[in-house]
Symmetry: C2
Subunit: 715 residues, 2 copies
């Protein structure tokens, strides 16, 4: 990508904007020079330079054509600046100038984009905070120049990006590259993810995003990146979920934040709640080796913080196994560990813990654990330096992941530089360290699973270049390649009533119940014996969507008389819209599921499964995926439910036919790619039996197929 | 309390232990002198002084009898040191010396306690890290001398206490008092809570505890304290929950950590997850005025961090209402706010936000909000000082709670001292600030509810002395005063089968179903019409506890033939232990609850309610309380269930008889105080109807009443 090289490794840069002291152009030049970049030209109406940088009235006058143009001139000048830049041969422009779509001036932003396209220039911004490449000493930004390191940070918000850069040194995290893309008129999240995936100076990518540019394209780019290096994402705007009015159960359960959550997990990104967690993870990923397993040992010189960290480990799903008898014997035999108070896990060295004690305890314990946390609760009368040396020595000797929590304040000041030098990340609390270890373990497990299908060359390259990565091509499970929509339409006109929907599902190969649409009391009476002796009767009427809410369902009808009575009653319920009564066999002992579809404005079709009946809605125990999914992924979804044990046969009940439900979920997940007017679908309840399943009810919400297709929709 | 005065305000102190340089006695003297305390004597076998402090061979030789003796001499000397101290007239001893019960030497600790009791001395420790009283400049501890302030910190763990003291300055929290009570042989959590409740220099109490000394006494003391000032508690050991083998559903749901969680909420304590959250809350509580409502406004100069904080506010149950039209007009009219980008909430001042802009936006917005968060995302080219001044001015002008999040690092260094001086707490992230505001709002709401029943004098005193408090006497809902156990025993011998348990419950005034114990197929047949046409038949047999797990329940039997067949089948299931079959009317459309009792080793009887059937166990949707509770508290428990909407009539279903279930919970919660051999009780399912309820099944686990009663049990 030419633009990427011009953006991050330009031969020369032109800054466009006022260069009077204190103005943006001046500050940008100051930053570029202070960072160490020299080949800069200043372009402004007065043609004055600044700080020894030569000045020109237009880009055309600059003797050496700039690769990169940084624009801070007034909004109404930017389009023509871009055209000038294109004529002068520039490849890319970073536009800091604000006053475009973010204040409602969409036409001006469109004009800017067209100017760029017409000039062969790619745009970062407008309304952005600039970019950074620490290796080329390139800092065209108003923000703090961050320390260099292995993390690339991409931020939709300029100010948040700036805050992260300012905080980096204190947090012990360095950056390879930084990009703020602001309004994202041209280049956006997807473009930068692709560039950073291939960037060998970047080992971890962090991303702050408010709205992705294109859901499916983002998923594809994120998955490609997350296959080779960790992608840590802050997605804000959780509380805006649920704003969208939803017509179906599935729609209301699949609030937009829940879909983001599912989508990010699906593509292998690691979602974090905020900046502190992002820093913690970046520090962990850039410092620690892979965590190949979930067994954690904690070595501490104080019980209390050890127990707090152990609690966190338990909550994070790490295993805190007790040392084996052999390990205990080994620990007891060490001259540095004699008199050890506790030989459980955490291993409590007590206040007597020494450099040798930490080293030997950690080295021995890591024989039986996959990762370690070393806690030093210091007093003013303990020197933290030898303890830090012991921890570092153990990390080096074992090659296993060792994190530290040295507490607190000035009392540990002598130890921290030793940890840093020794590649042992230190965290503010043991709980935070444990959280990071757990997330790296999850990342490593996923990477190893992906690697299992990669070939040896790839693995060798990966081992060399991306210690945490799984450098190979991912097949996107949600890819719709080869699934060109046939643009079919749902086979009924008007409202889809239950019999219509069931007939359609049956035609799609989905298991539906035996049933009869009856239109008289006598037919209803006949249905009892015809359908097996105990039946359910449901009103079929236009305008009645949630039948149970209006008394439109009669369960367990066993006699002809009862069936006839029920028919009369349901006819009354149906009123003017009455079309008949649907009779089906009563299902007993089914575990109720909800399986549904909705369309998300960002990610397109989404499939959901939850415990059915009233529980899905009240308990919100639902698993989501961007559609389509295959049956294997559907099984994973079922396993994510809090109530999964019910499906597996809790308390002596028979296990349910999970394969049948997984097939149903997979089949359903492909429907929206065939039926262009299918907006939402609820199968609720689905009765899951020991053998097979029965769809108890089905509802469809149709959309106007002539309307604009949603972004990232059925392509 | 004499001992408390001697402990925290001694006229003079004797330090017992070796005073050779570097030894504990020496360091303690060094600390006392450095802190500013002068009236110190050194007592050691060599009788040498240190650092100008006179030395003696025994306490008896010290001319001025010490009020407080600080002991760091070897473990086997401590008991006789205490006896000497008692003879010399000392009131209290702080024993730092380790090597007692924490290493299994329980007899030695008991001997120490007896020496203290025999000598009229109260003990802090042994194995503790000392105490601090910043006002009297008293620092008999090896730990960092903390800054002074309004927080008292009580720690069971010495080392964790030390870490907190070391971290305090960096975290901006100061301490009035600090106590580490170590093994707690004599004085323990309950004693210190009572002292600190009455301590006017302490506005907030923080407590780290691994195991409370006596569950019910702790609850009483914590409730008394939490009625007048905030009590922030770290309780570690979560992951040890579930270790205890449980015989009933209720027992397994009420793992010991869940009981701690319920108990701490019940007494009004604020449980936090770790040290960082503790510091955040202490800083908030000591700096902010009460938060009287849940409406939050966020004023920011950057969108991204504002949205992250708004997400956190939503998750914490704070309301982020949009500004009214009047407020919008007022904001627009301000010369400092013209051109405001966003007039939503967060109010985004953009990078143009000035001192005047922050002040005016905050002052205006606080007309419609109960609290505010001011976010400043600084760049190197913005001076944080004027922004801080604007925020402080708004806090002063409105008197309302205003928290800050100034980000990040060096770029905000000029603003932070202004915030601190102005009483505006600054937090590392907006999310953390919002969390603190939400917890203070919850605290304030509780305090105001408690105040509603207090008289004016009390309220006036409270307003003056405890801005966050509700200084009045709390009636402990779980108090068992006047509930002396009558020491009744369950009215059956051997195993309690369902008919026995139901008869007993009926005698206790608890609503039970109509039922017949039938012992022949013919009797079973007769039961169908006698009990209403549709019945359930359940095996009654010794050795069968979970009947559904073994096919011991037949539902919905409608004919005599079916009943006779079912009887034969259940007789087979019952095997040798068969005693009959219990017939009861089939219940339809009941919402299933579980109501149960267990006994917790720390807190004694615990009552639980959850969604019944298989769901309680799988979804663990259960609310717990230390028993007894009244019906009003039981209603609160029901409201805490995730599935509460099901009880209120979700999706068109009829609402259930919540009062009946609340009465049942309250009645059940009193049973363990009458029946000494009642260990656990499960009523599962309880069918909750539109009117009334039916107990579907009942199981009792009996205990050996001659066994030691649990701590904090039925007193």
């Amino acid at each position: 990508m030419l633009w990427a090289k011009a953006l991050f490794e330009p031969e020369s840069v032109a800054v466009v904007g006022s260069t009077s002291p204190g103005k943006l152009g001046y500050v940008l030049i100051e930053q570029l020079l202070a960072g160490g970049f020299r080949r800069v030209a200043a372009v402004g109406p007065k043609g004055q330079g600044a700080l020894g940088v030569p000045g020109f009235r237009s880009i055309a006058e600059v003797p050496e054509a700039p690769d990169l143009v940084v624009v801070a001139s007034p909004a109404d000048t930017v389009a023509s600046v871009i055209e000038d830049a294109g004529r002068a041969g520039a490849k890319v422009a970073v536009v800091l100038t604000a006053g475009f779509s973010e204040v409602g001036r969409k036409a001006e932003e469109q004009a800017l984009l067209e100017a760029a396209r017409g000039s062969g220039i790619r745009l970062v911004g407008p309304n952005c905070a600039g970019i950074v490449n620490t290796r080329t000493h390139l800092f065209p930004t108003l923000e703090t120049r961050p320390p260099s390191g292995d993390v690339a940070f991409v931020s939709q918000s300029g100010a948040l990006g700036g805050a992260v850069l300012s905080w980096a040194e204190e947090q012990g995290v360095g950056f390879s590259k930084f990009v703020s893309y602001g309004n994202g008129a041209d280049l956006t999240d997807v473009d930068f993810l692709d560039v950073l995936r291939a960037d060998d100076e970047t080992r971890v990518v962090a991303l702050y995003v408010e709205t992705v540019s294109d859901g499916r394209a983002f998923l594809d780019a994120a998955a490609r990146l997350a296959a080779v290096k960790p992608l840590v994402v802050i997605k804000s705007g959780r509380s805006q979920s649920g704003v969208r009015a939803a017509l179906s159960h599935t729609g209301s359960l699949a609030g937009s934040d829940a879909v983001y959550d599912a989508a990010l997990r699906q593509c292998g990104a690691i979602r974090v709640a905020g900046i502190e967690e992002m820093f913690d993870l970046c520090r962990g990923f850039t410092t620690l080796p892979p965590v190949r397993g979930r067994r954690l040992v904690i070595v501490t010189n104080s019980g209390g913080p050890g127990v707090l960290a152990a609690d966190a480990a338990d909550a994070a799903g790490l295993e805190m196994a007790a040392p084996s008898e052999a390990l205990r014997a080994r620990l007891r035999a060490s001259p540095h560990l004699s008199g050890l108070g506790s030989l459980a896990n955490p291993i409590d060295l007590t206040v007597q813990g020494t450099e040798d004690g930490y080293r030997e305890a950690l080295v021995a314990a890591l024989d039986e654990a996959d990762a370690a946390l070393a806690i030093d609760v210091n007093t003013p009368y303990i020197d933290a330096a030898p303890i830090a040396r012991g921890v570092v020595a153990a990390a080096r000797a074992t090659g296993k992941p060792v994190a530290a929590c040295f507490m607190a304040g000035k009392t540990v000041a002598t130890g921290l530089p030793i940890l840093k030098e020794g590649g042992v990340p230190n965290f503010a609390t043991g709980e935070r360290a444990v959280h990071v270890i757990s997330r790296i373990a999850a990342w490593t497990a996923r990477a190893e699973a992906l690697c299992a299908s990669a070939d040896d060359t790839v693995l060798a390259e990966m081992a060399q270049r991306a210690p945490h990565g799984a450098r190979f091509a991912v097949r996107s499970a949600w890819s719709t390649t080869g699934m060109q929509p046939e643009e079919q339409r749902l086979p009924w006109s008007g409202e889809g009533l239950e019999p219509d929907v069931l007939d359609w599902l049956e035609g799609e190969g989905i298991s539906t119940p035996r049933r009869r649409l009856v239109t008289s009391a006598n037919e209803a009476g006949d249905a009892v014996s015809a359908l097996g002796g105990s039946i359910v009767l449901k009103v079929v009427a236009s305008g009645i969507s949630h039948k149970t809410d209006v008394g439109g369902v009669v369960l367990d009808v066993r006699t002809e008389t009862a069936a006839r009575d029920a028919f009369e009653r349901l006819q009354g319920v149906g009123g003017k819209g009455f079309r008949g009564v649907l009779a089906a066999p009563m299902v007993r002992d089914g575990v109720e599921l909800l399986v549904g579809l909705s369309r998300d404005p960002q990610f397109g079709p989404v499939v959901a499964v939850g415990l059915g009946g009233v529980y899905a809605e009240v308990l919100r125990d639902v698993s989501l995926r961007v559609a389509p999914v295959d049956a294997a992924e559907a099984l994973v979804m079922l396993g994510e439910l809090r109530g999964a044990a019910i499906l597996r046969g809790a308390r002596g009940a028979a296990p349910r036919d999970l394969d049948a439900s997984a097939r149903l979920i997979a089949d359903v997940s492909r429907l929206p790619f065939r039926y262009i007017d299918l907006a939402e679908l609820d199968l609720n309840p689905v009765f899951l039996l020991e053998d097979g399943l029965v769809v108890g009810d089905a509802r469809v919400v149709r959309r106007d197929a002539s309307a604009t297709r949603e972004r990232g929709g059925s392509r």
